[in-house]
Amino acid sequence: MSNNKYWQSLEQRDETPEFKEQAAKEFQDEMPVFDYVDDTTKVESTGRRDFLKMMGFSISAAAIASSCKIPVKKAIPYVFNLDQSSRIPELVPGIADYFATSYAEGGDFSSILVKTRENRPIKIEGNTAAPFVKGGTTARAQASVLSLYDVARLTQPKKKGESITWEQADSEIAKKLTKISAEGGKIVIISNTNYSLATQKALATFKAKYPTTQVVTYDPVSLYAIRKANQITLGESIIPTYLFDKAKVIAGFNCDFLGGFVNATENAKRYSANRVPTKENPNMSRHYHFQSYVSITSASADYKHSIKPSQEKAVLMALYNKIAASTGASSLANVTISDLQESVNKLAAELLANRGESIVISGTNNVDIQLLTNAINAMLGNYGSTIDTAAALNLKQGNDEALKALSDDTSVKAVLLLNSNPVYDSVFADKIKNIITKAELSVSFADRLDESAELVQYITPDNHYLESWDVLEPKKGYISFVQPTINQLFDTRQAFVSLSEFAGATTTAYDLIKSAGEGFTTGFIASLGNTSWESALQTGFINNVSESASGSANLSATVSAINTKLPTSNGIEVIFYESVALADGKEANNPFLQEMPDPITRTSWDNFIALPYTFAINNGIKAMSQDSTVKTAKITLANKEVVLPVIISYGQAQDTVAIALGYGRSQGVGPAAFGSGQNVYPFLTYDNGTVSYSAGSAAYETLKGTHKMGMSQRYHTLQEDNNLYNRPRRFRNNIVKEANLEQFRKDDTAGNEDRAKIKDHLTTLYKGYDSPGHHWSMAVDLNSCIGCAACVISCNIENNVPVIGREEMSNTRSMHWLRIDRYYSGDPDNPDVAFQPLMCQHCDNAPCENVCPVNATNHSSEGLNQMAYNRCIGTKYCANNCPFKVRKFNWYDYQGNDSFGGWNDPTDASYMYDNLTRMVLNPDVTVRSRGVIEKCSFCVQRIQASKLTAKTEGRPLKDGDVKTACQTACPTNSISFGDRNDKNSEIHRIFFDNGRNYHLYEEQHFMTNVGYQVKIRNTDEEPEFTFVGAKEDKA
């Protein structure tokens, strides 16, 4: 150790007096304290008074400084776990990442892309690479991202209401299972349809460990009859893929194949492919529909006939006989269907003329009816051409008979509820409730305290699918992956991992699906060729489904199996159906879906009794209500009764009423679901091996009470209501223009003839807006729009549209930027239906723009009508002056904005107030404050993002770069968007070359940037717009 002293300066080395003095001082310069102390007290040393003064000052200064409340800002840190299950290589704030995964719920399946921002999933898009569908989803798939952030989700395992750890749950459950299994006690896993290969593997492990296990699969809305009938016809218990795109004639019987049924997204895509005639190819399929209630499918049909559920078999038999007479097949017993015979003859003739190019389809869960459709399809040679039995669907595998057997089984010792809620949605709810309460062990994997989970001993909550790994096989030969898009929000665990854990096999979800993958992919991995597991995961699917259809049917076996005994019809018949929004009710706590107006009746937040028009008028129900208060009625069926509001559903079959399933949930399901509507599952009956979704001999009684209904549309037709007796009514047939196919073939501007004259008269004194660069425009094809409302939900999620609740919906204050207007024409008892999606029309001569006193709404040089929310003071003048009423005002603070303190929405529609729920908000779109107007922006954030991408890539923006949220969600490609200045764009072609294109109220010179294409109906009759019932509606 050396004793060297290092010096810093010469002064230090020399130890000058100056240095010594400086070194002794703490501060180099004198503190200027005494500059602030007056001269009289300025003495050499600090005096007592000065000390006190300074002390007093410092204390009070410190007190003041520390007492100022510094606002606590909560931020979301960019912390993520780079372990195996979080496969995010890097995260760039502000840049969205997309993950391929799958949405599977009930009969609905989509391969999807999930948009995440800063690790939060915020939007669902259809996977455009996926086969069959190529983008497009249902409304439910769109809304499912919000369910991830549902406040009603369970955050950890529970034992009889008490929170426990997973270790405790695993050991206790395993112990009980071992005991039961050892004693030979029956273990039942009740599951809804499950086509997860990982779950199947886990179930196999479970069964191996506990051999007394039995898996019972059921579906709340069952299609068991199809599988049962196909067992006879095809020798396989399958549901085939229906190739609507190859069919020239489609005959639907109580089958909502576009909105419910099974595989609706693919059906819609295929169906619409053949529904848009063009100048070059002026053809479209013809769709007959025999319906009991009005679904979006029957609304899209060209010919629709109202039948009672009990009539369906007779009509099909009549059709069968008619076709059998021509094809030489053996005929069935004669039936008389009186006034429908003519329609059946017409249909039979057309089906026979299009053998192998037609589909006869029924959604009724009745084996005889399914056999009849099978027989007809077989006679027509549709199997292998329009019905692909090789690409069998794995959706809806529910076995009604197995459920029945279970419900009568008294020996069940353990019940595990896998993705199912039988106490709420099964036909044997009471019996299963009994089984659950009596079982030695009952476990539910429910993610919330649903009706069944309330009763079980253990709840081991499942992940949301956006937090999960999985491998699904929705269709034979088609594998779709599920991968997490966010770390688990709560202490939950995937059900198949739990099942494995109960069986003593410790594993992670990823390992399980990897191992499942190795097992299941032997076939697939081989077919992947050079594709790796990772790239398959990135694509989201593996497809080995053959493009060409195959299949053959055994007609004679089918015909001989048909029981020709006709059901008797008595009294009022009730139909229980899946609504487009809620389907079987699994996502009842999704406020976006609750608030989504029913496409047909345009009501929200409640189910209702859909009444036929004449029946309703005869029962004193007003057709046109002035406000949203509707009458209530009581339906009594087999000693059970339900009271619900009544809504006239034009086209509902006479002497029938329809009620949607999926409503009337318990409190544990969540705030949006609780209190919405009534549960009608208890009315379902088990009849001869299948669950029946209709019933006769019901009693109907209009009650005195009323109900405030969420109503988005109170006036249903394009016919003016002038309240003048015996006066002709006029029709605003320039809003939805229609023509039939024959007219269109003669003239591609059919129905749109007046446009040429209107265009001649369009002159103005004023200088309009120039759009020298882009000129964004949208076109909506009224022909392919099926009204499914996927676009509505997609828009809601993309643009942070607030949820306002039942009361505000009943006040007609819907905030939807995009709505789908629905108009009826023709006979009110069986009207034609037209859907018209309506968003801001982005008028180039916008009435809203020049009335805003503060310039909050103005026109961009790209043809957009834009809103500066922060500039808006909320005079609502623009909304009044908007002819399309697409400008929405924030009447209350719907989003729970902090700056309003507790003065939020007094109607208590606080579904979006929780910080967890608000994680779904799109950071690219401003959340609007109370008191401002908002409206469709043509997804300007997407336009900007695409422009930026093009710019960084150093290329001009090209057609298709920008896709709006509504456009990507649309399963039928009804919406086109682009730059009309681009001569090669699709929108340019539609606007300038398509004779069907027209603009709303073009004669008023609004110069809208949204075009609509004339609705062409494939009917022999020309469209009529009248809507006058047999009885004038003066009730």
């Binding site: 549309q713 003016e720 909304a879 009423k885 007094p906």
Partner: protein
Amino acid sequence: MGHFESPLREPLVNGNKTYKQITDDIVAGTTGPVGLLWLLATGVSGLVALFGVFCLVWTICYGIGTWGVNSTVGWAWDITNFVWWVGIGHAGTLISAILLLFRQKWRTGVNRAAEAMTIFAVICAGLFVMLHTGRPWDVFFILPYPNTRGPLWTNFNSPLLWDVFAISTYLTVSLLFWYTGLVPDFATIRDRAKLGSIRWKMYNFMCFGWVGSAKHWERWESLSLILAGLATPLVLSVHTIVSFDFATSIVAGWHTTILPPYFVAGAIFSGFAMVQTLMIVARKVMKLEDYITITHMESMNKVILLTGTMVGTAYLTELFVAWYSGSMIEQYAFANRAFGPYWWAYWIMMSCNLIFPQFFWVKKLRRSIYFTFFASIIVNIGMWFERFVIIVTSLHRDYLPSSWTSYSPTWVEIGIYVGTMGIFMTLFLLFSRFFPVVAIAEIKSILKVSGNQYRRDQMEEVKEEPAYQDADSRLTYKID
């Protein structure tokens, strides 16, 4: 002002008043103990006003969602009430400005109260302008002031902006005019107060130390005339601009060129009715029958008859134009008005505004106090419904039938409307207690021409002249 007036004209001041008596009579209202009736009336009005303020605060706290308006009917009672109150204000300006320029002496009896009414009505109207917005705290955005918001500037194309200018100008000019008139009268009250008392100081302050010198009077006369000149176009412009809110829009039923004259006539119509309502009560309670005579009322009734008929003609013209236009939307808007769900509002409007004023062709009814009072109420109901009909029935069913809705008010809206009546009445009652209700200086200026004793003397003088030989039989009044 002292020009010749035919002796056949009815006197405008009765009761053989001297200048002193006039001062005594009018100042009496501001002195002496506070009457029980006044206290009661002010108390009730004040409570009603407070309830209105509560409803306003409620609206600000929760938002306009507390009203019955919806996505289709964005304006309803708020703008109805706004236009109604602005319209009521019009009589004051018309009386003080146009009638001054036309040298209508009868205006002196009622102009002070009418002007006060104008100001209070515009204050009430202004409340609705502020509070019909979703974010009243940002309402200053509407003013074209230099700001840091870059290119964001008010939109001069918007009639709502014109409205803001029109109403604020109107309020300013009316206030100035009213106050100018009050200055010499304040001095009169001051001079009657005990020197140095609070009362003296207050009025001395308010009259700006008026001493009544010739120079003061000269300047005062000039200013009054200038303000009258400024206010005159306002009578026409304010309601014209209010009507532009509707006329320049594309809503069928709003979009019509007849609206400006129709609105101006309607405003004067309702304004005079309100003056009648107030003055009939005030003259009785404050014993001003000698100054506000039946003649005054009859003159105003004639204006009501004229303007009511003009408004009615406009209603019928609108119907004709709608039919003649051939526009489907336009035709439906008017059919729907008359026969749609709000038919009752339309027919209330028609009967109150067009049919009812026709009774004023009968002289006996014109001069009946009770009938006039009744009619004035009817007219104001009718005019409220006119605005309701224009706003709500036009909006609730317009271009797309899918958006057709209805409207009914909530307690908050009703509360605010009733509350503005309370505010208005409270202000008016305070005015009647502290301010001279009749313009003392001005009424004195017509005494020697239109006072009854002078009229009697004049008759005596001209009695022998051939032109007045049969004067007695031509007199429509009795000289007492």
